[in-house]
Symmetry: C2
Subunit: 325 residues, 2 copies
């Protein structure tokens, strides 16, 4: 199989992902699309590297593809936008990997298709480690763009769902040996391998004027909240760390503090929102009605800088540093 | 230096690249821009991996940054489009690399700035080998989009400049030892390290109805021309292989066939155009007046499939296969 023949096979797989706005897909020097009138375009890029972000024994090829695209879609959601198309730069480390590559693409295509996101282009190359650098373009009405900056002192800190399950799933896969197949740990493993980008939630937050700032929780609540505070020029006081049940189940067995999974774990891909205090109860009720889950109150943005507990204790930042770890 | 601090430094460097259409640059979950009315958007992605596409002894960090962005800009040029913004997923393999990373960004920012291309986002991660996966978004009037498909039997095969210099430069850097500093080889080395994407030429081709198809020569004339033929459902007859003087100078010393550098070498990033035969002389004169260089006639697209010499000899495809090499 030559590169051109192999790529033709991948192109065929990608053709199933809704190409609505796409004028020209994979196969030319560039893909072409028609941007929506009166919308802004958004773009994000995020890479996943074998041995750094995943290992082949912990994740199937489809998991890796899903996970890499999910991280990017989550960034689109965090702008209040909807995805339009993705491009994929894939590095593979052995030629015999054809079936792995196809399975990886299957994982991406499945998530892209149900997210309304076309896979519009890519590049495939040899590389010492498997790597996926994905770029997603989205669109959003100008009035719906949500930045990290914008949180005001007094705003409620809310998250779109409980945290820590992905970190718990990683722990199970890495440390639990044969117990990895216990049904009790399945939700954590699913959160780790197949995180669900909160695209509908992101657009819903985007449509509300009472949501002052939005970002996704990819590097742990403490690190991400600190970034949101820095961008907004505020601090944060945390009343309740919203720990996922799946994280509690794993932490109990591992002897870990479940809150540390939520604060420092990362890769949950829930959304963190700054919400006008008088609107929170109303939005929380509508959120429950719309999504069948709770919009969780974490605490309050404050005038005083830094991250604190309601008790006054400061919170150390132990989240993910991409250069350090 | 934490990741956030380091990224803040890169962000500052990127702020110099013209952010005209950019509503929101690096630092949020995604960048935001305002697409031009009545234009189509185009997107391309291309990765460069240490040990596969470059080695650190053959290229400076600035060269690597320039080269990686140039390859992507060349794809934008090949659509008849102009670049708007780029995102960069950078993999680095040791933490001590801060100065290398900054120099690499300098190379990208310098080329981006004079190309009118903002650097709008990125991701930085650890990786076993240094890698740059770049995505560039461009814009083009719908009537100016040039595809690979579209070449007609009888069309002139033309290239925007002579070929083979990049392959020659690679040969010098790799094989010539101390002679690498001979002034005679400087043009070849420059072509290898700092290829110039033909952005103005691409837009110029895009504006002409007599240009029926366009692509860039990144994998060698034989491979790329075969792709153009396949996309267009035609064959090609090559009269003249346009060999760069710098390639001839190196091939003479290396004892190589200079035409093989042009046919199989790749990474020249010149543009290959299919031009209506009756318009070629006129366009060639205007091209010379506009760009001060010759639009080079390579041969003719044919009804018969395959690549042939005017003598009738078939041309073997020995260009770059990204999975094989």
């Amino acid at each position: 199989l030559t590169e051109d023949e192999f790529v033709a096979g991948l192109r065929e797989m990608c053709a199933t992902a809704a190409p609505e706005k796409l004028v020209l897909g994979i196969g030319d020097d560039a893909a072409v699309w028609r941007p929506s009138r009166s919308n802004l375009s958004v773009i994000t890029t995020d890479a996943l590297v074998e041995g750094v972000h995943f290992t082949l024994d912990a994740m199937s090829a489809e998991d890796v593809g899903h996970r890499a695209l999910a991280a990017n879609l989550s960034d689109i959601a965090a702008m209040g936008a909807r995805p339009v198309l993705a491009t994929i730069a894939l590095g593979v480390n052995v030629r015999s990997d054809a079936e792995w590559i196809r399975a990886c693409y299957r994982g991406m295509v499945a998530l892209a298709t149900r997210s309304g996101c076309a896979i519009a282009g890519g590049d495939i190359t040899r590389s010492p480690a498997i790597s996926l650098a994905i770029t997603v373009v989205g669109e959003v009405r100008p009035s719906n763009v949500k930045r990290r900056a914008g949180a005001r002192a007094g705003d409620v800190i809310a998250v779109s769902g409980p945290l820590g399950a992905s970190r718990a799933g990683l722990g199970v896969v890495r440390d639990f040996g044969a117990r990895v197949n216990d049904a009790a740990f399945a939700p954590a493993i699913a959160a780790f391998r197949r995180p669900e980008p909160r695209l509908s939630e992101g657009r819903w937050f985007g449509a509300s004027r009472n949501v002052h700032a939005l970002m996704d929780s990819s590097d742990g609540l403490s690190t991400d909240l600190a970034r949101m505070c820095a961008a907004s020029g505020v601090g944060a006081c945390i009343d309740t760390v919203p720990v996922h049940d799946a994280a509690r189940a794993v932490a109990a067995v591992a002897g870990d503090d479940p809150e540390s999974y939520a604060l420092d774990g990362g890769e949950d891909f829930e959304l963190i929102a700054a919400i006008a205090p008088r609107a929170f109860d109303y939005l929380a009720a509508r959120y429950r009605a719309r999504f069948g889950r709770d919009l969780l109150r974490v605490g309050t943005f404050t005038d005083a800088s830094g991250l604190r507990r309601a008790s006054g204790a400061t919170i150390a930042l132990a989240g993910w540093d991409h250069l350090r770890q």
